[in-house]
Point group: C2
Chain length 270, copies 2
C-alpha cells in the first residue's frame, strides 16, 4: 500500500485509529474457546466490528508466537483475512525485529512476502545495515522504534549522546539511510511533550503512537503536537478496544470503543 492511500483512508474515515490485535487467550470470551481457532475467530469478529472506524490493524507477533505453530497459523489467517476483505486497511506486523543484514532480509521476507503485511516494526540498536534490508522493499513501510511508551525507555533512549538524546540520534541517523522515505517511527503517547521536538527532526514522516488508553497517553495532546499536513499519525489502542467486554457482546463493545476514539479524532483530521 502507498502512503497516499493511507492518507486518503484517514480523510475518508476521519480517523487515524490503529487497532492492536494482541490476543491473549486468557482474556478472550470463553464461548470462543470451543472453536478450532479462537484467536482467529476473535480477530475476525473484532475486525468486522471495528473496520469502519480504523485505518490500520496491528497484531503484535509475541501474542501469536506464544502459542507456537498454531499461533503463527492464527497470525497468517488474520492477515490474509484483512488483505482479502479490507484491502484498503494498512497492516502492521508489530514484531520489533532487527539483525545483521542477510538475517534482516529474511525477516523482511517473512513479513512482507510470506505474510503480506504492509509494514513491520524494527528495532534500531544494530544500526543501518540491520534496517536497510527492510527499507529495500520500496512498496512497504518500515516502522523504526524511536521513543517507546514504557518505563525502560528512560534507560537508554533518553540518555544523552553528544548533547542530544539517543532517540533523536536514531531519528536523525535513520534519515540518512537508503529509502528513508519508507520509514515511520514508533513514538510513545505517554510522552506527548516530546512530539514537538520529534516533529522538528521528522516533520513529514508518519508516527505510530502506542500508549493511548491502557498505557495512559492523551489523544488530544498527541494530535496537538504530532499532526502534520498528511495527518502523519497512527494512534494505536489495543486492550481498550479488544477487551472492552469479555462476554458474547465483545465485538459490539469493541465497535463502541473504536467509534468513541474515531469521534475524538474526527475534529483533528486534516
Amino acid at each position: 500500500m502507498t502512503l497516499q492511500k493511507l492518507v486518503n483512508q484517514i480523510r475518508k474515515k476521519k480517523s487515524f485509529l490503529c487497532v492492536g490485535l494482541d490476543v491473549d487467550l486468557t482474556k478472550v470470551p470463553s464461548h470462543l474457546l470451543q472453536t478450532e481457532d479462537p484467536i482467529f475467530e476473535f480477530n475476525k469478529a473484532i475486525i468486522n466490528a471495528t473496520h469502519s472506524f480504523a485505518v490500520a490493524y496491528k497484531p503484535n507477533t509475541a501474542f501469536y508466537e506464544a502459542y507456537g505453530v498454531k499461533g503463527w497459523q492464527s497470525l497468517a489467517k488474520t492477515i490474509a483475512y484483512i488483505n482479502e476483505n479490507h484491502p484498503d486497511i494498512f497492516t502492521i506486523a508489530d514484531a520489533k525485529r532487527g539483525d545483521i543484514g542477510n538475517t534482516s532480509a529474511m525477516y523482511a521476507k517473512a513479513f512482507f512476502n510470506d505474510l503480506q503485511f504492509d509494514s513491520v516494526t524494527v528495532a534500531p540498536y544494530m544500526g543501518k545495515d540491520s534496517v536497510e534490508p527492510f527499507l529495500a522493499f520500496e512498496d512497504k513501510i518500515t516502522i523504526l522504534l524511536a521513543l517507546t511508551s514504557n518505563a525502560g525507555a528512560f534507560d537508554f533512549q533518553t540518555q544523552m549522546v553528544n548533547n542530544e538524546e539517543l532517540y533523536k540520534k536514531v531519528l536523525q541517523t535513520s534519515l540518512t539511510w537508503e529509502n528513508s522515505q519508507n520509514l515511520m517511527y514508533v513514538v510513545g503517547a505517554t510522552k506527548a511533550e516530546y512530539l514537538k521536538e520529534i516533529r522538528k527532526i521528522v516533520p513529514n514522516h508518519f508516527l505510530l503512537v502506542p500508549g493511548v488508553g491502557a498505557q495512559g497517553g492523551s489523544l488530544d495532546e498527541v494530535c496537538e503536537y504530532g499532526l502534520n499536513a498528511d495527518n502523519g499519525l497512527l494512534i494505536n489502542s489495543s486492550r481498550g478496544i479488544i477487551y472492552a467486554s469479555n462476554g458474547t457482546d465483545f465485538a459490539e463493545k469493541s465497535r463502541e470503543e473504536a467509534q468513541k476514539l474515531q469521534q475524538q479524532m474526527e475534529k483533528w483530521v486534516r
Copy 2:
C-alpha cells in the same frame, strides 16, 4: 539447563563451539529439497554430524519465519529433536526480541515454555522492563545484545553516552536488573580488542560471540581477551560449518569444519 551443566559440557568436550542453524533453502543440498521438511532434515543431519564437537545450537528465527507456518514447524521440530536426543546441549533461540513488559512476557513464554529453548537473545533498546520478563524465568538464560558484529554497530552502540560507549552503559545497567545472574551477552568477534574492556564490566558472565568465520573474527584473539575461569565463552559459527559443502557429503564436511574449530578451542579450555 543450569550454567554449571554448560560449563561441565565445555570441559568434557573441550569445546565452546556453538553451531548456528541458519538454514536458507537456496543453500541446502538439492537432494534434500524432495523431502517433506528439508529444513528439519538438514538440521537433523548437521546436528547428528557435529554434536560431539559443539556445546550449543543456535537457530536464528528469521530463517524459519521466512518460510511462514512451515518454517515455524521446522523450528519446533528442530528444538524438540535436540532436546530429545541431546539434552546436554545448550540451545539458543537467536530471536533478538524485546517489547513492553506484558508483551516480552509472551515472547518469553514462546521460547522458554512453548519451544523449550534454554535461552533467547534479546535487544536492549526498550530497557529494563522489556528484559526482566525474560530474566524472571530463573532456570533460563537471557542473552542481551551488547556489541554486535555488523557495521551498523557503530551507528549507536559505540556512541558516547556520558563519557562511555552505549554498549558499556547497556552492560552496566543490565547488571542492576533483577536476576541479572541469568544474563549472557552478545559480543561480536570482529571487535576482539573490545573484549578486554567488556571483561572489566562483566568478568563472570558468559559471552556469545558471533562473527568467527564468515564474519571474519579471530578465534585466538577472542579466547585471549574473552575467557574467564568458567571459560565464559560460546563462539558461534554458522555458514562456515553448515554450508561447508552443498553436495551429498554436506553433513560429513560440516563435521570436519566443526572438528577443526573444536581443535583450535581445545588448548584454550580451562
